[in-house]
Symmetry: C2
Subunit: 444 residues, 2 copies
């Protein structure tokens, strides 16, 4: 224990419409002990955080290994489905050691971007041919170790993935994802243990990969443990069509009918929704996790975030396939892409977008005590420079952060009370070097 | 004269499908003298350029002063039209000295982003109330000086702007834009002189601001001088509606009918086009300048770049309002935003996007001898790091540059044979400090 650490924030966003000037945040162990306004200058012994300080970001939807595909899937006409073939090639090359090395680098890249907690949607469970590793959770534990070494918290959203499509068996790669049935999925996942920096949640991969009865099993598993439940939802029109053809209802309705919806449920993407689907998700107070840089990359389309919020849903954000790891870009992209779809500006303003990236995001992955700069909250602080070539002149506060800054402007990151990034450099990880080495292993 | 300078490029994009390894570029004065492949290591005395080297970027559509709005127009529901009111407030605060200071900083920000030539679409000609300055081209000359000090080339696209809308007089701010009629516009613009680093072109602001007869005058002025002619085209549906109502034709048809279209013409935005419009622009071998980060910001919509290229048009890119200054982001955004609109990937691949950012862009603003790494071309070289947190692991070449790198990855910029940026820092300008100071003056 180092006693109380004090941070003086030139400006800090405390959840209001604007950032406030001269805020001192006192941190004891992993918690914020006090927040004091009105300090025009740093008190003696305080660490100075320049620019604007915001709570740590939650990356509510991640597939860490997809980072290996960055810049490698951009030739040739194609679609989400042809991209998926490339993604499966990387998946096929991973074992627990390689996955640990890759995830450690990717989660450290997240730390540099101000992300202090990640929701890892994890479905690559088994060895080649679907044969379990000696430790059946070896792959999940590789992710937990990676997060710890990167200095960020993780919610391992252990994912049930049983079928290659509705009524289809898994293919060769997908066999590595499948536990055979939902009960065996639940037994394996139940052996995973939470730690101070790690929590366990559940996920239904999608209505494509999990049949209705199994959805109900996973939903009950999550409800029993009061843990987060996530699912990919209506990312592509083809999923809607297959679901309607097989079950006569939309994917949202199918999840609702099998007990998945509720305040602990996060629908990932939620792109192609009917008005009824929007009403179901909003009425059940679900969270919707928008992943706009991935949705651009995979040609998914523009989701209905404004409508979902108006209907009562909350919103979190994820970098998903990691074509980009930049929560500020994710935040503004929700607004900018809706502008393209509607010809209207100002559907989501900076405070609401920051809330999605912080408090709502942490709640979405089961850390409701994080994502706010207030006494009692987990001590995550991110300072964003306002004197870079990107942000200089762009006003003083959170609009500059959300609409002009990038991950390259993040200077200092405090995660669970520890400084893990200072001057834009990770305390423990040479991120580019480790990324290069780990990716070379799986793309050779 | 410094004699021949040699640059060894770890990889260089010479216009093909991929970058090539180990290229030596010899530069004499402002021209490329030789390009030699197959140098696995740097020859003695050569300057080492790591990552991938591409030609200098052309920013084919810029309004330098809009940079002052970055991060300052993001509150409240609104549209292109409400944004324009904020933009006019900044315009109203500018005089030649303030404009020079602001433009110098903005054009130096462009230099940091690898931009070696800018097409400045310049319409803020006169003093308050529309009274000409003692030197009627004082504002344009402020821009020419700014470019010279920033170390980049400029094409001053002197813009004819006569009306506040079809059949309307200019408002108080717009009076500063207007020369009264096209003949007086032409007399004033004819007094501007080209230099080694500056060329003069013409622009029709839009069919909203210039009546058909005046469009014909401006088009003839440009044709007489064999200089580029640009016009904003169909950025918003309201322009199409007003044009149809007044003249019974689309804006594209109106420009065609008044002699504007041809290989020297660049249509900026070209967002809301009919199939007939696409056919006119393509058939006349026009260039279309896409400005996707601005089109996102202003809720314009997604243009038809693929269709325009298929019809025979060329494509250039512009950062326009400077919500972002990053030609790599502009390049990939053309593809990514079309993916959102079409659910299809791979409509524009990296070589074609780089061509838009380089050779086609320079041609669009009247520097056809720039934008290629080949003997005789103007010596513009930009090195993009492939070992940053963004680019590490993202393959070796131009796909990583176009789909993963940002302006923050640009290390060295050679512009007209001079190194103006090294290690990501401008040779002469403290860009963030000058941006802050200049913007504070006009937003106080």
């Amino acid at each position: 224990m180092r006693g109380v650490q004090r941070y003086w924030c030139e400006r800090a966003w405390l959840g209001g419409e604007e950032a406030e000037a001269g805020v001192v945040v006192s941190v004891e162990a992993d918690r914020i002990a006090a927040v004091e306004r009105g300090h025009a200058a740093p008190p003696a012994g305080a660490t100075r955080l320049e620019g604007v300080v915001v709570p740590g970001f939650a990356n509510a939807h991640s597939h860490a290994f997809h980072r290996a595909l960055r810049g490698r899937t951009q030739r040739g006409r194609g679609s989400f489905w042809s991209w998926r073939e490339r993604m499966y090639e990387v998946a096929a090359a991973l074992d627990p050691e390689g996955y640990h090395r890759l995830a450690r680098a990717v989660l450290a890249e997240m730390a540099l971007a101000g992300i202090t907690a990640v929701g890892e949607f994890h479905y690559l469970h088994h060895g080649p041919g679907g044969v379990p590793y000696d430790d059946p959770n070896a792959m999940g534990e590789a992710l937990l170790a990676a997060a710890s070494e990167a200095g960020i918290r993780i919610t391992l959203l252990d994912t049930c993935y049983l079928h290659g499509g509705i009524g289809e068996g898994p293919n060769e790669t997908q066999r590595r994802f499948s536990d055979g049935d939902a009960e065996r999925w639940g037994e394996r996942a139940a052996a995973l243990a939470a730690t101070a920096g790690a929590r366990i949640g559940a996920a239904v991969h999608s209505v494509r990969a999990v049949e209705p009865e199994a959805i109900a099993v996973v939903a009950a598993w999550a409800a029993d443990r009061d843990c987060p439940l996530h699912a990919h939802l209506s990312e592509q029109p083809a999923e809607n069509e297959a679901c309607e053809a097989a079950f006569g209802v939309s994917p949202t309705q199918l999840l609702a009918d099998n007990g998945a919806l509720g305040p602990g449920f996060t629908a990932v993407h939620a792109t192609h929704l009917s008005d009824e689907d929007v009403g179901l998700l909003g009425g059940a107070r679900c969270c919707c996790c928008m992943c706009p840089t991935t949705e651009r990359d995979l040609a998914d389309g523009v989701g209905r975030a404004r409508d979902l919020l108006d209907a009562g849903a909350s919103m979190s954000l994820g970098s998903d396939s990691h074509a980009v790891i930049d929560m500020l870009e994710e935040a503004r992209a929700v607004e900018l892409d809706e502008r393209l779809a509607t010809n209207e500006r100002g559907r989501h303003e900076a405070p609401a977008l920051l809330e999605a990236a912080t408090s709502a995001g942490h709640a979405s992955i089961g850390w409701p005590e994080a994502g706010r700069i207030e006494p009692g909250a987990i001590a995550d602080l991110v300072s964003i420079r306002l004197d870079s070539v990107r942000t200089a002149g762009a006003a003083d506060g959170i609009d500059a952060a959300v609409f002009a800054a990038t991950a390259a402007d993040i200077d200092t990151v405090v995660s669970s009370g520890e400084i893990i990034v200072a001057g834009g450099r990770h305390r423990d990880v040479d991120v580019p070097a480790e990324l290069s080495a780990a990716i070379a292993e799986v793309t050779a």
